[in-house]
C-alpha cells in the first residue's frame, strides 16, 4: 500500500481498541487571509456558536512586534475554543479542530464534528488560499514502543542498548508528506498519575496544490486519517495489538 514505507498491510483494520492510546488528534488548515488577526477570534466565535467557549492562549498576549520575529508564528495557535469534547485552535493563518486530550470519542464522532466545523468555518470564505492541510495523531503507551513495533534500528547488525531513543522519519506517499515520530522517553500524566512511556506520533499533510478549500477538505482529512490508521496498525506488533483488545465489528 505504501511505496516508500513498507509497513505490513492489515486487513481488516480494527474498528476499536481498548485501552485507546490516542492522546491527541488535530485536524488543521493553514491559509492566507485578508482578514486582520484582531477580527478573527470574534468571527470564528460567531461561526462556532454557543457550544464553544473561547479563551486567549499565552502567545496571544505577546506584542505583534515580538511575534513577527518568531518564524511561523502565524501558524501557531493564539486563541482557543473549547466544547466538551473538542477544541478549536486559531492563529492568524491557521485553524484546527482537535480532540480534548485523552478523550478520543472515535472516528465517527470526530468525522461528524469535523463536517459540521468545516461547513461553518470554511464556507465563510475568510480563508484566501489553502497553504497546508494536516492531520496529526499522537499515541501514548506505558511501555518501550521500540520493543513492540515492526521496525528495528541496528548498529553493525546488532540491536542498540540505549537508554532513551527518539526516531523521526519523513516520507512522501503520493500527495501526502508523512512524518512519523517515535519516542520511548516520555512522561505523561493520565488518570493513574504520571507515567513513563512512549509516544507514537504520525502527521500527514497535503501541500497547497493538493487540496481545495472549496471542495475536498473533508475528503482530504478523511484520507489522512485513514493513512494514519493504516500506518499505526501496520507498525504495531501482534503482541501489542493483542493487548489493545481490537474489535472488528
Amino acid at each position: 500500500m505504501f511505496e516508500n514505507f513498507p509497513v505490513k498491510i492489515v486487513n481488516p483494520l480494527p474498528l476499536q481498541i481498548d485501552p485507546c492510546p490516542i492522546v491527541q488528534a488535530i485536524f488543521e488548515i493553514r491559509f492566507t487571509t485578508n482578514t486582520p488577526w484582531a477580527q478573527l477570534p470574534g468571527k470564528i466565535a460567531g461561526l462556532l456558536g454557543d457550544r464553544y467557549v473561547g479563551q486567549e492562549l499565552p502567545l496571544f498576549e505577546l506584542p505583534d512586534q515580538f511575534k513577527q520575529h518568531i518564524p511561523g508564528s502565524v501558524y501557531l495557535p493564539q486563541y482557543q475554543f473549547h466544547s466538551e469534547q473538542f477544541v478549536v485552535n486559531l492563529g492568524p493563518q491557521m485553524i484546527g479542530l482537535g480532540v480534548q486530550a485523552m478523550n478520543y470519542p472515535g472516528w465517527s464522532m470526530v468525522h461528524a464534528e469535523l463536517s459540521t466545523f468545516l461547513n461553518k468555518v470554511v464556507k465563510d470564505g475568510f480563508m484566501g488560499e489553502g497553504a497546508r492541510l494536516g492531520v496529526r495523531y499522537s499515541d501514548f503507551f506505558e511501555l518501550n514502543i521500540f520493543d513492540h513495533i515492526d521496525l528495528d534500528i541496528l548498529l553493525n547488525g546488532k540491536t542498540l542498548n540505549d537508554k532513551d531513543r527518539q526516531f523521526t522519519t519523513v516520507f512522501q506517499e503520493g500527495p501526502m508528506t508523512i512524518r512519523l515520530v517515535l519516542i520511548n522517553g516520555a512522561i505523561m500524566e493520565n488518570s493513574h498519575g504520571p507515567r513513563r512511556g512512549s509516544v507514537l506520533d504520525i502527521d500527514v499533510a497535503f501541500g497547497p496544490l493538493d487540496f481545495n478549500l472549496n471542495s475536498d477538505v473533508l475528503e482530504r482529512f478523511t484520507q489522512a486519517h485513514d493513512t494514519i490508521k493504516n500506518i499505526f496498525f501496520g507498525l504495531v506488533s501482534a503482541d501489542l495489538l493483542e493487548s489493545l483488545k481490537p474489535k472488528y465489528s
Binding site: Q24, R30, P58, P92, G96, V199, G207, P208
Partner: protein
C-alpha cells in the same frame, strides 16, 4: 503541526491539561522543508535561497505598504518548476516577491534578452522579450515551462 509535545526541551514528553502551550518551533517546518531548501540552493544559489527564506519567514501579510504575503500555490508551482528546469550556465536567475504575493524569477537569455516568470496562485505569467512571448499558463504547465526554458 501546532502542539508542543513531545519535542520541546527538556526532551521529555509532556501534555498540558488544556493544551494551552501549544508552541513548538523546532520540528515542524513552517516554511520550507530541507528538500525544498536544497532545491533552491542548487537552482538559485545561496542568494536566491536566502531571499526565499526571508520572503517565507518575514514577509507576512501587509509587508511594505499593505502588500500580500507569498502565495502558497505560487510557491508550490515555482518549486515544481525548479525541480524540472536546468538553467543555462551563467543565467543566475534572480527571485523577487511582488506586491501581490507572486514569486518572480528573472534572468537573461544567452543574447541578453530578459525573461520573467511570475508564479501566482492561478497561473504563471511568462514574458520573454526576444521571443515576443507574453502569456499566462495554468499552474499545471510547470513541466512544459521548465522544458521550454531549460538552457535558455
Amino acid at each position: 503541526m501546532s502542539i508542543k509535545f513531545p519535542f520541546a526541551d527538556p526532551r521529555v514528553y509532556s501534555l498540558d491539561d488544556d493544551l494551552r502551550s501549544n508552541i513548538d518551533q523546532g520540528m515542524w517546518s513552517s516554511t520550507l522543508s530541507a528538500d525544498e531548501q536544497d532545491l533552491l540552493i542548487k537552482k538559485l544559489g545561496d542568494r536566491g535561497w536566502g531571499r526565499m527564506l526571508l520572503f517565507t519567514k518575514y514577509y507576512t501579510t501587509g509587508w511594505g505598504e499593505g502588500n500580500k504575503q507569498i502565495s502558497p500555490r505560487g510557491q508550490a508551482v515555482m518549486l515544481r518548476f525548479l525541480e524540472h528546469v536546468t538553467f543555462r550556465e551563467g543565467a543566475n536567475p534572480s527571485i523577487f516577491l511582488t506586491d501581490e504575493g507572486e514569486l518572480e524569477l528573472a534572468w537573461s537569455d544567452a543574447e541578453g534578452s530578459p525573461i520573467q516568470l511570475v508564479f501566482g496562485p492561478n497561473g504563471v505569467e511568462v514574458y520573454h522579450e526576444a521571443a515576443h512571448r507574453e502569456e499566462v499558463l495554468a499552474p499545471n504547465q510547470y513541466s512544459r515551462l521548465a522544458t521550454e526554458f531549460s538552457n535558455v
